[in-house]
Symmetry: C2
Subunit: 315 residues, 2 copies
Amino acid sequence: MRMPTREGVIEAAEKVAAILPPTPLLPVRIGNTRCWVKAETLQPVGAFKIRGAWHRLSALSEEEKARGVVAVSSGNHAQGVAWAAARLGIKAAIVMPRDAPRVKLQATHALGAEIVLYERPGEDRDEVAARLIAERGGTLVHAFGDPWVIEGQGSAGIEITQQLGRQPSQILACCGGGGLAAGLALACPDSAIVPVEPEGWDMVGQAMAAGEIVQVADDAPKTICDALQPPATKPVNLSILKDRAEPGVTVDDDEVRAAQRFAFSNLHLVVEPGGAAALAAALAGKVPLDADTVIMLTGGNTDAESFAAMLASTG
Amino acid sequence: MRMPTREGVIEAAEKVAAILPPTPLLPVRIGNTRCWVKAETLQPVGAFKIRGAWHRLSALSEEEKARGVVAVSSGNHAQGVAWAAARLGIKAAIVMPRDAPRVKLQATHALGAEIVLYERPGEDRDEVAARLIAERGGTLVHAFGDPWVIEGQGSAGIEITQQLGRQPSQILACCGGGGLAAGLALACPDSAIVPVEPEGWDMVGQAMAAGEIVQVADDAPKTICDALQPPATKPVNLSILKDRAEPGVTVDDDEVRAAQRFAFSNLHLVVEPGGAAALAAALAGKVPLDADTVIMLTGGNTDAESFAAMLASTG
């Protein structure tokens, strides 16, 4: 597999800018610090995943496009791939967990993709996807362990640099498998990259600490961050992040809900649990902030019922 | 009183652009039409009112600044004036209804303004403000019947024109006293301006139909649109709108809640009832839409309890 490059990120940023307006970089005050949030929740599919999906699918050959794509996702990558596939006239099959939020299943279906459900935990989602490709053919679009996907997600870092007029001092990134974090590391070589993961699901942080891929524990705790539950990171992500990222930070469900409430009240943005992880770390004081800090709000796809319950909760 | 002018709107747009990044113009699909929403909910005070307040307060003489300002508002103009006053070091007293949403009272207080409460209905808010000015001095910053405020709100129309690359075919504007609608009419002479008001509180629509100011009925129905309950429009607004605006459109509470839910699910934006009125008219099919239609989302300041109840409602 080719390695993703900064040149690839810059190319991805040009391709993304040609079809999607930049998402706003909004000022935010956290404690006594004024810094920035990048509202990727305002992408057409409600998440940054549209970037990597567009960069990958638009780079397929005509022959590959004709055979279609297969992706694995709890819902945001699913919508990104479905959106890009619909726009390019490509057939897409998405392997999704049966317990994915209903809005994510519905939105992926509405974008015209075929959904193949699997059980989480129990079935290995990568095996389900591999079986599908063996049966039908098609190109796998991995949610984070793919060079185009990483470059595509990194386009957010180029956009931030243009909006801020300089590279940020640091970027706090909600982190599942490490696709966004790796892309931002390539995009912004002068910025510290801080991956923020749910407690017990910090497979990027643990891999960076161990120097090798670590699988999630069988008894990993439940988390409300449905978008940040990869079984492990991938070598391509680890190879980029091990030299570039800060030690990982983890957040718990109460911290995530507090961040969702903060975004509701102070920013008037709907942020899903996994999309609020980086903000949660900032609000909980787990990362020192400065005026050039950028906090990624990565997704906003959440059920009305869950959101109403979160607003009513105090923890 | 001087009349607001298009030149004044352009000057306001330059002043606003110097301190506030443009709010995003986001694509939205309504039925089979792709058009645009202008997300003024993402202004620092969560509403477009920051525009007019900034244009007005920054135009005060040093002597006027020293005497302070007085405003009347159910909460969004209050925050706009308080924000601008804090930034310019001006003392601000805001006359607010006792039943204003708690978040609006709290946010206005947090911005450092003095709050003077009145009872709605019962007390005449303009009289409370006039009494305050008679006692203490200071400049009245009217929420909509002020030339600077109208020009300032119109700066949104200049921004939209820059973002769209042309003037919109039409702008659907949530409408209270008609400050925004009048400003947009000046900003975009080639665009149709459609004021959207709550049922029974269409004091701009009624004034345009009658050709004169109409006071709200004593038995006006309740509305969830707390931001759109002026007792009447003002001559300056009517004089601009009577020749420029389309016949007014009204929306009911169920239509407004449906629009809030649509904004939650499809745009991932928190929109308050009054801020969703224009979107409600579009979703209810009350205004024919085209690809160059812009729908104003004017405010996002709403209590968590109200928002959760709205999400849970089906009407």
